[in-house]
């Protein structure tokens, strides 16, 4: 791939070592990808394969599964628990856990319900109060964790019970409150869909943004004397994304289209991905998840990182609770109960965020919740009982954790753990 006459000085600063296997262009990108997968760095590959398998199986069993109507419902069902799952990704990256996200989301739903109906608050106020309560709960967890060193497992298990109790207290004796259907949050969650032209424009903007970000990075790298990716790979990535998004949007448009709530969820994922990968804060989250002591010695204020992540996790949980109750137009005793907690945690893990800390991505919330909701929706279409649904979701979670452990072992045997 290299012309033999090229002297080391002409090469980019990061490619001068003679031991490096040099990969260039499209073929190089494919080779590098295969190398990574063999080395145990599976990334999102198992989830995407799993998602395809799930879709094929359910489509064979019930031809309605991939209908536009069902897919639109699927996206809407994803948004609430997926939002909670973003927070779980953050806390898992630190190697910690938050078991109380279900209760916190239920509490937020109760605050919204009581605020709107009994206290006659405007929607914005109820939403803000619910989010602030969520943030305060996370701050409390962070303080307990950093001051007393109690394991987050125990703190949040206590929170699971305590905030379930608070949720019941807030709801009062009725136990169930119907949200006014004409409030904007209910309208947003249930009836707001992007007009087709806006959805198409968004798809084009997303693909263009991907290309521009890749291209400007490659220009900055060239300026810094570093190697750059091939233009063909960048173009191919952007075009593939564009085709995929346009297909999805046009198919969804045959039914109601792209739901605003799902769009909000995806935007949150993209924003969190930016913060995790491109900012100092995100770098310190990964560092603390990898080695707390190393992070502390490097001058990172470890306690602040913990507290900020616990706050974000609880706030995302509260937001997820608001979206869920708005979608169901009710806040009740069962808001945030049942399998909300486990689905949110399972989604993060199935999506590829390691339970052992320091490895994962915000995208795993999106991929994982798509898997879980596809299974749930497929089984509902087959008229299967929730008992079977639970068992199958449990099996998939187990499979995801096994894949995580196996890829960890594979990384270790390839010297990259």
């Amino acid at each position: 791939m290299t012309s033999p006459s090229e002297t080391p000085a002409e090469r980019a600063a990061d490619l001068q070592d003679e031991r490096l296997v040099r990969t260039e262009g499209l073929r190089g990108a494919v080779l590098a990808f295969r190398q990574r997968v063999r080395g145990g760095d599976l990334g999102s590959l198992p989830v995407i394969i799993g998602l395809v398998v799930i879709c094929v199986i359910f489509q064979i069993l019930n031809p309605n599964f991939l209908s536009a109507n069902n897919l639109v419902n699927l996206t809407l069902q994803c948004a609430a628990v997926g939002t909670i799952s973003i927070g779980i990704v953050l806390v898992l990256l630190l190697g910690q856990i938050d078991l109380s996200v279900g209760s916190v989301s239920g509490l937020a739903a109760a605050i919204l319900g009581v605020g709107l109906t009994q206290l006659k608050w405007p929607v914005a106020l109820a939403v803000i109060v619910a989010l602030v309560v969520g943030a305060a709960i996370g701050y409390l967890y962070g303080l307990l964790f950093t001051r007393f060193g109690v394991p987050s497992f125990v703190i949040t298990l206590a929170g699971l019970l305590a905030f379930l109790g608070l949720q019941l207290k807030v709801l009062g004796p009725n136990g169930s409150i119907n949200l006014p259907y004409d409030s904007w949050i209910v309208q947003f969650a249930q009836a707001t869909f992007l007009p087709p032209w806006a959805a198409y424009a968004l798809a084009v903007i997303a693909a263009a943004a991907l290309f521009l970000s890749d291209y400007s990075r490659s220009r900055r790298r060239r300026k810094a004397g570093l190697s750059t990716g091939a233009l063909s790979v960048m173009l191919l990535k952007a075009v593939l994304l564009l085709i995929l998004l346009l297909l999805a949007v046009s198919y969804l448009a045959t039914d109601r289209g792209l739901g605003a709530m799902f769009l909000l969820f995806v935007v949150l994922v993209v924003v969190m991905n930016y913060f995790l990968t491109r900012t100092k804060w995100g770098r310190s989250v990964f560092a603390v998840g990898g080695s707390v002591e190393a992070a502390r010695r490097a001058g990172i204020r470890v306690n602040r990182v913990y507290i900020s992540v616990f706050i974000l996790t609880s706030t995302f949980a509260a937001l997820g609770g608001l979206l869920a109750s708005a979608r169901l137009t009710s806040a009740s005793l069962s808001s945030g109960g049942g399998d909300t907690n486990l689905n949110a945690i399972a989604a993060a893990v199935i999506g590829g965020t390691s339970l052992f800390g320091g490895r994962g991505s915000a995208w795993s919330a999106l991929l994982g919740i798509l898997v879980i909701q596809s299974i749930s929706s497929g089984l509902t279409l087959l008229n299967l009982d929730s008992s079977i649904r639970y068992m199958i979701t449990g099996a998939v979670l187990l499979l995801a954790v096994i894949i995580d452990s196996l890829s960890r072992r594979s990384r270790a045997s390839h010297g990259q753990a």
């Binding site: 600063a13 990061d14 070592d17 490096l20 300026k223 560092a287 002591e293």
Partner: protein, 309 residues
């Protein structure tokens, strides 16, 4: 105490020490870990601190790194009296400490580890290109053999990890680098790599404080050896004019000690063994013990084999 030479004083006339400790003491409860320690480090000089376990080497490192402040005595940095209450203060002064366990994040790549806690930013975003470029120029200056700075630190060898840890200490442009047992867990080639690195730090005009148990490393790379014994200064030598035996005797506190006896026993020369035996009674007792072991050991395998046959 007895062997403090005037080495440092003659040099002090021409140059100012970058780091200077005068009468530093530190106690932990009833234990006097350090008593009246004096130490000067000049720019472009490698000072090795040697001493037995419990001699106070780690305590000294921790005082300089800001882990524990000293109880009494003064620390001068660039001629100014300073206090080092926290690790951040130590780093702000320009003292970079590389601890024995390196404290790298295995899941992050080399660039992220080098700039951890000191990321270069471009507004809100990290300036990855600038960091990668600086990482390469720093690693080149150290002639570090790291194939790619975008691979996780977990996949590097012990010597490469040590290199990354040392390179990281240089990011803050320190004037003194403290290396705690940098070659302890390394193979022959990696040790040589790290020693080359230490020499390159000296060429850059940094003061280097090297804590080591390995006399071969100390003699290979250090300019001066400071011996600690039971928390006190017990010698300050120019490496060029001191023998291995002299350093060992300063570490153990006597010319006749378990190390020299062992050396003479291994040499197998009758005269040396006789001299050791003459010097103290313990020598003969020890050799008697080893003979006892030999006589006991020979029948032992036989008794074990008997029941099997």
């Amino acid at each position: 105490m007895t062997m403090e030479s005037a080495v440092a004083d003659t040099e002090g006339a021409t140059r100012e020490p970058v780091l200077s400790l005068k009468g530093v003491s530190k106690g932990f409860g009833a234990v006097r870990a350090l008593t009246d320690i004096n130490l000067d480090i000049y720019p472009g000089e490698v000072v090795a601190i040697v001493g037995d376990n419990g001699a106070g080497k780690s305590t000294l490192v921790k005082i300089l790194a800001g882990v524990h402040p000293q109880d009494s005595g003064t620390i001068m940095f660039d001629g100014q009296v300073v206090s080092i209450p926290t690790p951040t203060a130590s780093r702000a002064l320009g003292i970079a400490t590389v601890f024995q366990d390196l404290a790298l994040c295995d899941n992050l790549d080399v660039v992220s580890n080098l700039f951890l806690g000191r990321e270069i930013r471009n507004g809100l975003s990290l300036d990855e290109e600038e960091m990668e470029q600086r990482a390469w120029s720093l690693l080149r200056q150290l002639s570090a053999k790291i194939p790619s700075v975008r691979i996780a630190v977990a996949s590097l060898s012990g010597g490469q990890r040590q290199t990354v840890a040392i390179a990281r200490s240089l990011i803050g442009e320190p004037s003194v680098v403290i290396l705690d047992e940098p070659t302890a867990a390394l193979g022959v080639a990696q040790t040589a790599e790290v020693l080359n690195l230490v020499e390159r730090l000296r060429e850059r005009g940094l003061g280097v404080l090297l804590i080591s148990h390995n006399m071969a490393d100390v003699q290979a790379v250090a300019d001066r050896v400071v011996v600690l014994r039971l928390g006190r200064n017990n010698g300050d030598f120019h490496v060029a004019d001191v023998s291995y035996e002299e350093i060992i005797s300063a570490i153990t506190g006597a010319t006749d000690n378990v190390v020299t006896r062992r050396a003479s026993a291994h040499a197998g020369s009758a005269s040396a063994a006789a001299a050791a035996a003459d010097a103290s009674g313990t020598g003969t007792v020890e050799s008697g013990i080893t003979e006892d072991f030999r006589t006991h050991e020979t029948p032992a395998p036989g008794t074990e084999e008997n029941p099997q046959s």
